[in-house]
């Protein structure tokens, strides 16, 4: 797999991250090194192997549907960078 600037810019956009030119240069090289190493995984035969996402089988986890009060709104909003009238403030998104 070859990494180039276009791909790095695409990943920045997917990640909602913007790198400086210098960081982009560095990232291109680092990702290339890492992916070249990661590509050794292609040598591992995996035909017919079922992908495993959970280490151990977990079926639907059920519980009683009871109302419990945990975090209150005010506690949560204390960590918001900006809040108004009990809501998170976001920049205007619709003209």
């Amino acid at each position: 797999m070859t990494i180039d600037k276009t791909l790095v810019r695409y990943l920045e956009s997917l990640a909602r991250i913007e790198l400086t030119d210098e960081q982009r240069e560095e990232t291109e090289k680092d990702l290339q090194d890492i992916l070249t190493y990661i590509d050794t995984l292609n040598e591992l035969p995996t035909d017919g192997v079922q992908p495993l996402s959970h280490s151990f089988p977990v079926t639907n986890v059920m519980r009683q549907d009871e109302v419990k009060m945990h975090n209150t709104r005010d506690d949560i909003l204390k960590n918001a960078p900006e809040e108004k009238d009990g809501c998170f403030v976001v920049p205007k998104t619709v003209e």
Binding site: I34, I38, L44, S53, P81
Partner: protein, 487 residues
């Protein structure tokens, strides 16, 4: 006996007998922290006022015999990615530098219920992404054995604090070796529990299918007592599992007669430092002399562990860390003019470089066109890695190996070369991928006097067996009693 010389379990007993008060224990630790933490930077935050306030309640509970845990009245440090109500939890990241959780992680609730007292939040690699604690936005922690060297990571603050005696015990978290490797580098003992045995509720997520909270201490006994307190099903974590109650007492028999231990040849082959290999093979001899049967076996899948790990961990990280948007909590850029810029600028200014790298790598392996070749492939490798362990466990009761290929590296060496840092995780990541437990314990020193650690890897929920074996080794050796001389 001096308070600072006691293990957590000894301190708990001294508090219970009235020989030491809870306040005296806190005084001793805060005094030592004030004297030395400027040099080692183990802590991000100290919670002195909260601790002394809690100490009064805890002392009453102990005096009235309502608090009966062996660790009641014992102070503890908590890794800074585990939520503590009303105490800053930063993940050593600028993006969470002012985050004050409105709730406690389940493990913190359980520690407090047992009468333990949180004294501070311990430094780590940013969002637990790193193996040196150098990616911390608050600055690196130094290894107590040599301040020019890294303490390992990501739970470097936790392991260094216990090693330096700036905490008698600590909690860390382990996604790919983050408890075991710093324990190995700092010469202390740590347990990465079976996936699902300890609640992750309130642990800031890095890679949810691999993350697990565990104890760090001076002895196997301390770790076992802590594990008994924090383990068990929690309805707030859907991945926590029902399993028979863990009893520390049963895990401390210290008998390995007839126990079958396997050492993967691929764990002591190419790339391992000579001194580390020797220490681990010497440990194998010790186990033999104690009546265990030890033999070598092949585990060729080892070479695929790091690729599989970094694909899975980064994929989950990019998803988990998408929550940092500059709106709900955490850092918000002052330079943003619209919503998209709020996301981009807050994240670009708030995350450090290693975190950005892993998020982008995660975005890559999940992106359209690459998903099957990378992410799906890694999940298949995960299946095969777990199978390899299960096959080994048909022949052996547990697996012995080194924790890391080297002892602690010089500071700065791996920061410039991320791949080199990743390769140091070769012996630890497989355990997380398989979901099985592993205890890391000191087993020697290299020629420069830096600690070497071994790990004993067990069957799912086999904590009792591996802690027993580690206890047997501890009883027969004195590596765990050696302490660094602080500067």
């Amino acid at each position: 006996m001096d308070i600072l010389e006691m293990t957590a379990t000894q301190l708990g007993a001294a508090v219970k007998s009235g020989e030491v008060t809870v306040k005296q224990a806190l005084d001793a630790y805060f005094e030592k922290i004030d004297k030395y933490d400027k040099t080692y930077h183990c802590y991000n935050t100290l919670c002195r006022d909260e601790a002394y306030k809690r100490a009064e309640e805890v002392q009453k509970g102990i005096d009235s015999k309502t608090l009966t845990s062996p660790l009641a009245g014992v102070p503890i440090g908590i890794k800074d990615n585990i939520c503590t109500k009303d105490i800053k939890t930063t993940c050593s990241s600028k993006i969470l530098e002012n985050f004050v959780p409105p709730y406690n992680a389940t493990v913190v609730e359980r520690l407090e219920k047992a009468g333990m007292i949180v004294i501070g939040k311990l430094n780590m690699d940013e969002f637990a992404m790193g193996s040196t604690t150098e990616t911390s936005a608050t600055g690196a922690t130094h290894n107590p054995w040599d301040i020019q060297k890294v303490p390992g990571g990501s739970s470097g603050g936790s392991a260094a604090a216990v090693s330096a005696g700036l905490a008698v015990a600590a909690l860390g978290s382990d996604t790919g070796g983050s408890i075991r490797q710093p324990c190995s580098f700092c010469g202390v003992t740590g347990l990465k529990p079976t996936y699902g045995s300890v609640s992750r509720y309130g642990l800031v997520a890095y890679a949810s299918s691999l993350d697990q909270i565990g104890p760090i201490g001076n002895t196997v006994e301390d770790c076992a007592n802590l594990f008994e307190i924090i383990s068990g099903k929690d309805e707030k974590d859907g991945t926590s599992m029902e399993f028979p109650h863990f009893s520390a007492e049963k895990a401390l028999a210290g008998n390995v007669k007839g126990v079958k231990i396997g050492i993967p040849r691929d764990y002591i082959g190419e790339g391992i430092a000579e001194d580390v290999k020797k220490a681990v093979l010497d440990a194998a001899e010790t186990f033999k002399s104690l009546g265990a049967e030890v033999e070598l076996f092949d585990m060729p899948i080892v070479k695929y562990a790091i690729p599989a790990y970094y694909i899975i961990a980064c994929a989950e990280a990019c998803s988990n860390l998408s929550r940092y948007d500059g709106i709900k909590y955490g850092y918000k850029s002052a330079n943003a003019r619209n919503l998209r810029e709020t996301y981009i600028k807050s994240r670009s200014e708030g995350f450090g470089m290693e975190v950005k790298r892993r998020i982008m790598l995660g975005n890559f392996v999940l992106s359209s066109g690459y998903y099957d070749a990378y992410y799906q492939k890694a999940l298949k490798a995960k299946k095969l890695i777990q199978q390899s362990f299960f096959e080994a466990f048909e022949k052996y009761d547990m697996v012995l190996g080194p924790v890391a290929p080297t002892t602690a590296l010089k500071m700065g060496e791996s920061l410039s070369d991320p791949l080199k840092m990743y390769l140091g995780d070769i012996y630890t990541v497989m355990v997380n991928i398989a979901g099985v437990p592993s205890v890391s314990a000191p087993c020697g020193f290299d020629r420069e006097g830096m600690p070497v650690g071994m790990q004993l890897i067990g069957k799912p929920f086999g904590e009792t067996e591996i802690l027993n074996a580690a206890k047997a080794f501890e009883d027969a050796t004195d590596y765990h009693t050696k302490k660094p001389v602080l500067k």
